[in-house]
Amino acid sequence: MSETLEALQEDIAAGRLQTDELVLNMGPQHPSTHGVLRLELVLDGEAVVKVIPHLGYLHRCFEKHAEAMTYPQVIPYTDRMDYLAAMNNNHGYALAVERLMGIEVPERVEYIRIIMAELQRIASHLVAIGTFGMDIGAFTPFLYCFRDREYILDIFERTCGARLLYNYMWVGGLSHDVHDGFEKDVAEFIRKFRPTIKEVNDLLNYNKIFIERTANVGVLPPDVAISYGCSGPMLRGSGVDFDLRRDDPYSIYDRFDWEVCVGKGDAGTVGDCWDRHMVRVWEMEQSCNIIEQALESFPEGDITEAIPKRIRPPKGEIYTRVENPRGELGYYVISDGSQNPFRVKARGPSFVNLSVIDEISRGHLIADIVAILGSVDIVLGEVDR
């Protein structure tokens, strides 16, 4: 055994001491991988040299299933991709088929869809923020976040009977109209929820320990983010001012007054874990603004009038994308004129965002990998589809 540093270096130079890289498996059963993801870490001491993700543990080939089903039957399968944002998944798929068929949906349906999508965004971000805090060692904010998410799930349950997987947005309309007192419930939730954002800020986001763990960690420069196809809070956290709700507007988002939140590097460098995390916090505030404006002009009407009796889109293909809580969810749907889709390809934001992990993890410590993975906010149901 070498006594001094010089002796140690001599031993290494002479080949008496092995300094090989070490391979460590993180996952698939690891609490910080948010599901069944295996990261093969190549380590030099405690520093990460390379991260090789192995996915597919939840793969069930959604796209193959979709080809064997009629268009409406695919909707419950879209729920199960990003199971924390099932409303948004429904929304994207319904939009794609509606555009293929040229269906215009009634005003009331558009409003309900927007409110549901934004509520779902808040619920999804609450999970992301809560579990990210917990990954880093802050347990209490997790409870605050899940408590408020529960109110949203209650509203969903009262409207469509399900808490997680809704099958709510159908092609041309919705499965149910909202329950009596829906507007009151949502307004009440927003009133209760706004103070929570401040609580989370005080408890977690501006906490010195939290900032030390996340600032300047996993910095993702904007050009790398674009080249890797990152979207959503990943892209905006890197300072790119891009949001599909504003820049490729769908539904009725262009009627509301709200802001796109962008990371500014307040705690460290632009594009670090703290920025990505804060974009989610700020976005919850903006979602509240959108919901409040939508409630003000919430119209009456029949929600079923545009639902077609037979869903058989004409021959053609379309690529539609919506802004999911995690980023750009795209559906590439090809129709051959029959009642089953010829091909449905889902471009999940988690899948694409995860591909950048090797690039932003190199040179960091193992403990930082937990922070980086938490800030990417993946849902394995969507990564593996």
């Binding site: 996915l55 597919g56 080939c61 796209e63 080249s227 890797y228 196809g229 790119v240 750009e328 091909r343």
Partner: protein
């Protein structure tokens, strides 16, 4: 300046007169020969007038007529316009150039297309399966795919 598909097509044919680009009006999209996709991709990414820096989606499709297709949906963040490129390859010789070095996101997308549909991207540095197990046989999204009865001695349910 936002450019339409037809304008982009005219712009590209002027730059690649020999390549044999075709314009498909129904979709609309530009059909690129498999051996030229990397050059065309580099051009649309770096051209001042196009600047397609964001590959939204890369999809593999089995056209069920003996050919496979790869569809590239592109978006330009600075300019805000979109473009669809298509490559058609025969199913018995499904080789085309990789664009993995043009847009880094194509790395995983191409692995997925290789895994599920089975086209081979020449020049890809790490073309392994991604969603299926590494020793899985066949490509599930082929229209003539049959689910194997056994995988490593285990019965495949469904």
């Amino acid at each position: 300046m936002i450019m339409e598909h037809k304008e982009i097509f005219d712009h590209l044919t002027a730059l690649f007169p020999e390549t044999g680009l075709e314009f498909d009006e129904d979709v609309p999209c530009i059909v690129v020969p498999p051996a030229a996709i990397r050059d065309v991709s580099l051009q649309v990414r770096d051209d001042e007038m196009l600047q397609f820096d964001f590959l939204m989606c890369l999809s593999g499709v089995d056209n069920a007529d003996g050919t496979l297709g790869v569809v590239y949906h592109l978006h330009s963040v600075p300019l805000g316009h979109k473009l669809t490129l298509k490559v058609i390859v025969p199913a018995d010789n499904p080789h085309l150039q990789s664009v993995e070095r043009v847009w880094r996101t194509a790395d995983w997308h191409e692995r997925e297309a290789y895994d599920l549909v089975g086209m081979v991207f020449d020049g890809h540095r790490d073309l392994r399966r991604i969603l299926n197990p590494y020793d899985w046989e066949g490509h599930p999204l082929r229209k003539d795919y049959e689910v194997p009865e056994f995988y490593n001695g285990m019965k495949v349910p469904y």
